[in-house]
Amino acid sequence: MILTLAFRNLFHDRIRLAVTLVGILFSIVLVAVQLGLYLGSSRMITDMIERSNSDLWITAFGAKSFEEGGTLLTSRERHQALAVPGVKAVVPLVVAFNEWRKPNGGSARVLVVGTDAEDGGLAPYNLVNGTWEDIKAPEAVAADDTYFEELGISGIGDTAQIGQSRVRVRALTHGIRSFTKSPSVFTPIDRARSLLNIDGDRATFLLVQLEQGANPETVRQELRQRLEGTEVLTKVEFRDRSLVNWLFKTGAGVALIGGALLGILVGTVIVAQTLYSSTKDHINEFATLRALGSSSGYIHKVILAQAGLSALIGYVLGMIISLLVLYLSRNSPLPLVMTPSLALGLFALTLGMCAISAVSAIVKVTKIDSATVFSR
């Protein structure tokens, strides 16, 4: 009967129910979009790091992120690292921004990623046209088809200029988006050095692969002692540093999380207000229940069931709209991301939000004077 009464109380006043659901829906969509953007941004920022085959990253001291590696490392550091017991391989990676001159005029900023796939550090991924062999061809680069417009190209075979050198698109990747809005262009490491005017043996990062059974922490300590002026980070540390740099030092993440918090706050206030007014309208019924001998727990359960039902309906509607927005954003420069854990988290958040909203109604109902049943 608790669920029946809660359900009937909710649906008794359809307009108020609609207001409640709009409140929850607004909150869910806002939180889903903000957190979806946050996750989408995080994924963009950390994608290259996550996909690298490395146990440790050696970076110049103070490197801010994957895109902002700072001072270049030399082959001396690479050889020093290789000499550390437990290190199997040290793969150099060149990453830097440069100017992409479009074939028909104009320019854009691109992130040149120089890597040798054979080394097993970071191979071009999401290749939809062409292979690594094609990228090794003279002047060859792999560009992302999501950014054709920004790059002023239309497909394989198009030429452009990076810095002072001519490049030809020999392979295409798909969906490698950039948080900095600068498309990533893959090319072999030597060509990347040439395009970026970097000396022959230098690298932005050194990806360290450990021998089986080696203790990462011991190796890290040893590397730190031997390599002055560098930092040795685990993949997770470097990923987190990149996230902090782009999302929090730029304020973008704060804005996204702030928006999500605002959504939660607005949703909570709207649901609390409507639940309170619903309880107030049904206060005589609750007083009757109390007079009939119901425990206060029974009445609280009715209110919480109302809140729970509102949460469930609001969540389903909110998720439908959120998934629609997600679908529409799939080809945008900043696509939303929805993961099962985010969906579950949103449900828990909705339930929590509605439960908190029920507090004011419960406080109201706790103060019922059941003697009012005789004065109606």
């Binding site: 009967m1 009937r8 019924e285 009939l292 001998g293 425990s295 059941s370």
Partner: protein, 251 residues
């Protein structure tokens, strides 16, 4: 009929308000309710009828005095313990029926059983049984808005007796009803008292109800000022006549 009282009120005093606004609503009321009897509590407005009903029903706690129901004293009980006492021993009938507008007749009765922890098929069939007892077997699925006043009050009566309480307390049960429905509800209460051996107390100032009473308690200014019992063998119309004659004599 057992003469053992089920509800005993002893020297109940109730003060309402504070300071200069303090009012003594009840000034030492004692009464007993016996199973099988329909007792009417009559008195003018402001005499303390409803306050006494609230205290007898363990909704209000008296300033002093004791209430004992089925041997259990209400003294010193917390709000939750009083609620437990109410749901186990007392059924309420209200002047304005106090039905849940969003629940149909059978659900309105079931909720009283649900509060008591009786759920599922057993509760549904008990609710149906009592609704048939009060003559609403054909209105089980009707919502209060589609029932007449008399029918709504009968749903309220069914709700009050569904959990088989030993005491049924009714607050002005006929006040909102026309003559026909008023008589029907009083006849029902009298039947519940006599056939189901329950204590039924109805607060009223409706003279139409007199004929159904086994006992009439008169209250004025917070004190019980008189008690009349239906003489043995006298039926409903005769006790009404007796009251009229007594009133004439007093005039």
């Amino acid at each position: 009929m057992s003469d053992e009282p089920v509800l005993i009120a002893e020297n109940v005093v109730m003060e309402l308000g504070k300071g200069a606004a303090k009012v003594m609503a009840l000034k030492g009321v004692s009464l007993q309710l016996i199973p099988g009897e329909l007792t009417l509590l009559m008195g003018p407005s402001g005499s303390g009828k409803t306050t006494l009903l609230s205290i007898l029903g363990c909704i209000l706690t008296p300033t002093s005095g004791t209430i004992t129901i089925d041997g259990q004293s209400s003294a010193g009980l917390s709000a939750e313990q009083l609620a437990r006492l109410r749901r186990r021993h007392i059924g309420f009938i209200f002047q304005s029926y106090n039905l849940f507008p969003t629940l149909n007749a059978i659900e309105n009765v079931r909720i009283a059983l649900d509060v008591l922890g009786q759920k599922g098929y057993a509760a549904a069939s008990r609710a149906e049984e009592v609704l048939r007892e009060v003559g609403l077997g054909n209105r089980l699925q009707n919502y209060p808005g589609t029932l007449s006043g008399g029918e709504q009050q009968r749903v309220a009566v069914a709700r009050a007796i569904a959990a088989s309480p030993s005491v049924v307390l009714a607050d002005e049960p006929t006040a909102a009803l026309d003559s026909v429905n008023g008589h029907a509800v009083m006849a029902l209460l009298a039947k519940i008292a006599r056939e189901q051996k329950r204590c039924v107390l109805a607060v009223t100032h409706d003279p139409r109800t007199l004929g159904y009473a086994d006992r009439v308690i008169r209250i004025e200014d917070g004190r019980i000022v008189g008690e009349e019992r239906r003489p043995d063998g006298l039926d409903a119309p005769e006790i009404t006549d007796l009251t009229k004659k007594r009133r004439k004599k007093n005039v």
